[in-house]
Amino acid sequence: MSTQLQLDSLPAVAERTPGLVAVAMSGGVDSSTVAAVLLQQGRPVVGLTMQLWNQRRLPELQGDGPAQHRCCSLDDVYDAKRVAQHLNFPHYVVNFEEQFEQRVVKPFVEQYLAGRTPIACTNCNTDVKFESLLRMARQIGAERLATGHYARIRHHERMDRYQLLRARDNSKDQSYFLWGLTQEQLSRSEFPLGELSKDEVRALARQVNLPVADKPESMELCFVPNGNYVQFIHAYSRENRMSLKDQEGDIVTEDGTVIGRHAGVHNYTIGQRKGLGFATGKPIYVVAIDREQNRVVAGDDDALRSASFEVEGVNWISIAEPASPTRAQVKIRHKHDPASATVEALPGFRARIAFDDPQRAITPGQAAVIYDDDDVVLAGGWIVNSR
C-alpha cells in the first residue's frame, strides 16, 4: 500500500517534550503575546483555550444573533487558533464549563444573593485556571502553565518559597486577583508579561504580526453579557430555581429609620450612590447590606468609612503566617490605592486588618490583598465585615 508507514518513522512512544510550556490563551493580545515571547526564548509551546461558559445558555440575555466579542465566544476561540497557526504551535480548546459553573458562576450568584459583592476572577484563577487547567497542562506533558497576567513570580532562596509580586507596570497590575495561589501552583506558573508594559506588549505583538495585535481589551466579567450582572443574576437564579424571594425590602438609615424601598439586595453594592431612589440634601450611599433582615442601610460619606475589618479564607502566599501584628499596605478592591494598615493573623485562616486612616466602602465579598512596602503580595483574604 502506498501510504504504509514504517515502524521507525512512527512517533516515538509517549515522548515528553522537555520544557513544554502550556499557554492559557483567551484569544486576546496579552496571552497571545505570551506564546510569542516563549517561542522567541526557544521554548516549546502548546496553547490551551478554555471553553468556560456556553453562550447559548440564558437566551434571554442574548440580543439578536450569536454572542460576539465576549469570553468563550467563537470569535475569541478562533482568534487563539489563528495566533497558534500564525506562530506554528499546537493549540487545543478544552471544556471546563462544569468546573467554571460550579466554582465561579454559582458562587458568584450566591454571594450576590447573600448581599455581598463577589469577585469572580479570583475564584476563576484559583479554582479553574491554576487548578483544572494547570492539571490538564501537566497531564498532556507540559511542565508549566504560562498566562497573560500582569504580575511576577520569584523564588526566594533563603525562605525557599515562591513569591507573588506586583507587575512592573503598576497600572496594569493584576496581582489583586492572584493571591489565592498555593506554593505548588506558583511553582508551576509563569507570567511572562510581568516585566512589561501594555505598550511593550502591543509592540511585541505587532513585531511578530500577531493577528490580534490591535484587538481591543475586554474589561467586563466574561460570562455576563453587556456587563449587566443584575440581569444575569435574575436569569441564572431563575434557570437554577435559586431563591430570589423576599426580593423587596426597606432602605433604612443607620438608626433604623425607613427612608425607602429596594428591589432586592443583589441590586446594591457598598458605596453605591445610584438607585437609592430619592434625593436628600447631601449625598448618601449604601453603607451596609443586611441580608438577614433584607435591608439596605444608607448613610453619608462618613458612615461609609471604616478602619477595621476581618477577612476569612486567608492565604499567606509569599511568607509564612506572621506570629505578631505586621505593618503592611492593604488594597480592598481592584481600583483602590493601597493604604497603610496593621494586619494581625487570627486562627482559622482569618485576619484582622486595621487601617491607619478609615477607608471608604470596605465591601464584604471583595478581597483585601496585603502587600509589603515593596511589591510583594504577602496575603489575601475575603472581606467579611467592616464593623
Binding site: L7, L10, P11, V13, N95, Q139, I140
Partner: protein, 392 residues
C-alpha cells in the same frame, strides 16, 4: 512527525483514484450537467454514471438516488420531507436516543412544530428494543428514523427487523447510514428501506457531497425550491466533481468492502484487545453488539478523554471523543449517556476508528503510545488515585 490517523468516523482522505476521477471535471469537462451542449452532456453522462455507481452499492435503482450536500442535508430532507408530505392531523415520528445531531435536532425542530416524537432508549450495548419499537407505533406514526451504525460506538441496529416492522405497520422507514456505507453491506431492498442518507467524505470521497436514497413511489415534500435539477427533488446546479468523486468512491467500496472489512476488523480487534490488556481498569463499550469493523470505544476510568485526545495528538496519534462543538471543545456524549455510562465514565471514553489504509505498524505504535499516555494522565488524576487507594 508521521501522524497516525485513527479517526475515520470523523472523516476520511479522498482516495487518489477518486481524486483522479474528479480532476477533469474541474477544468476540461467543467460543463453544467443541465446544459444542452456537448460540455453539458459530458458532465451529465458522468453524473449519471455516478448515480449508477451509488445505486449499485445500495442495490437501489439509479433514479432512486438524489445527490445532496451531505449527510445532514439528506437527513433533514428525508425527515421534514416525509412529515410534511403526510396529510395527517396528529403526526408522530419514532427515532432513537443515539442518533446523530442531524436527526436528533431535526426531530426536536419537528416537536416545536407540534409533531410528537418518541425517542427509543437503547440497551447497554447501544441497541434499540424491537418490542419497544412495535409498541411505539400508533395510528399517527408517519416515520421511523433509526440510524444504521452509530458513529461513536459502531453498533449496528437490527435494521432488517426494523424494516419488517415498518413495512407491516405501513410506516415510512428512514435510516442515517452515514457510518455504515462502505463499512458493511447495505441493501435497501433487503432492509426494506424507504429512505437512506449517506455522506461522501466518510467513504473516501470529498466533503460536501452526499446522497439520499428515496424509494420509488415515496411521496416527499419538496425541500429546496429552484430549477428542476434531479427531477425537482434537489434543485441547484449539481456539484459535478463531488458527485463523480462519490460515485467512484462508492464503486471502490463495493469492490473492496469485504476484503477491507475483514482486515480492518482484525486490526481493530488487535488494538482493542491489546489496549484492554495493557491498561488496567479499562473496558470496551457496546462490544458484544454487532459493530462496524473499524470502530472501538474504550473507557479508561480516572482520565479525562479530552486530555487524552490532546496528549495523544501531541504524540502524533489522532482519535476522538464525544462530539466536538463548534469551538472544538469536547461536549458530553449523548450516546454514552444513553447506554448508561455514568458522566465520569462517559468523559473517560475515547473512540478509535480505523480505515482502509490503517496499517499493522500503526496499530503496534498505538499499542505503545496509548497505554503510556493513559498512565501519565492517571498519575496526575485526583480521581484515579482515590479509586486505586480505596481498593487497597
Amino acid at each position: 512527525m508521521n501522524r497516525i490517523y485513527l479517526d475515520h468516523n470523523a472523516t476520511t482522505s479522498v482516495e487518489p483514484t477518486v481524486l483522479d476521477a474528479m480532476l477533469p471535471y474541474f477544468s476540461a469537462d467543467f460543463g453544467n450537467a443541465s446544459s444542452i451542449h456537448t460540455f453539458g452532456q459530458r458532465a451529465r453522462a458522468a453524473v449519471e454514471t455516478a448515480r449508477d455507481q451509488v445505486a449499485a452499492l445500495l442495490n437501489a435503482r439509479s433514479q432512486e438516488i438524489v445527490f445532496t450536500s451531505g449527510g445532514t442535508e439528506s437527513d433533514n430532507h428525508a425527515i421534514f420531507g416525509i412529515v410534511a408530505a403526510t396529510p395527517s392531523a396528529t403526526k408522530h415520528v419514532i427515532t432513537s436516543t443515539i442518533e446523530h445531531e442531524a436527526v436528533l435536532n431535526a426531530c426536536q425542530a419537528l416537536e416545536k412544530q407540534g409533531v410528537a416524537v418518541t425517542y427509543l432508549p437503547v440497551s447497554r450495548d447501544g441497541l434499540i428494543d424491537l418490542n419497544e419499537l412495535r409498541q411505539a407505533i400508533r395510528p399517527g406514526t408517519v416515520l421511523i428514523t433509526i440510524m444504521h451504525a452509530n458513529n461513536e460506538l459502531g453498533t449496528v441496529q437490527p435494521l432488517a427487523e426494523v424494516g419488517r416492522i415498518a413495512a407491516e405497520a405501513d410506516v415510512y422507514l428512514h435510516t442515517d447510514a452515514v457510518q455504515s456505507i462502505g463499512k458493511i453491506p447495505v441493501d435497501v431492498k433487503a432492509l426494506q428501506l424507504d429512505l437512506l442518507s449517506l455522506s461522501g467524505h466518510k467513504l473516501h470521497a470529498p466533503k460536501g457531497v452526499g446522497a439520499l436514497f428515496i424509494k420509488g413511489g415515496t411521496r416527499l415534500r419538496q425541500f429546496l425550491f429552484g430549477g428542476h435539477h434531479q427531477r425537482g427533488f434537489r434543485p441547484g446546479t449539481e456539484n459535478v466533481p463531488g458527485i463523480i468523486g462519490l460515485g467512484k468512491a462508492a464503486e471502490l467500496a463495493r469492490l473492496s468492502l469485504e476484503r477491507d472489512a475483514s482486515r480492518i476488523a482484525a486490526f481493530r480487534d488487535k488494538l482493542e484487545r491489546g489496549l484492554l490488556a495493557r491498561i488496567p481498569d479499562s473496558h470496551a463499550n457496546a462490544c458484544s453488539a454487532p459493530r462496524t469493523p473499524n470502530t472501538s470505544n474504550l473507557t479508561f476510568p480516572g482520565i479525562e478523554g479530552e486530555a487524552l485526545i490532546i496528549s495523544l495528538d501531541l504524540k502524533g496519534l489522532a482519535c476522538s471523543t464525544g462530539a466536538a462543538c463548534s469551538s472544538g471543545a469536547v461536549e458530553p456524549s449523548h450516546v454514552l449517556t444513553a447506554i448508561g455510562l455514568p458522566a465520569a465514565e462517559a468523559r473517560a471514553s475515547i473512540r478509535f476508528s480505523l480505515g482502509r489504509h490503517t496499517t499493522e505498524a500503526e496499530i503496534h505504535a498505538a499499542l505503545e503510545i496509548v497505554p503510556a499516555a493513559v498512565a501519565q494522565l492517571r498519575e496526575l488524576s485526583p480521581t484515579y488515585r482515590k479509586e486505586a487507594s480505596a481498593h487497597r
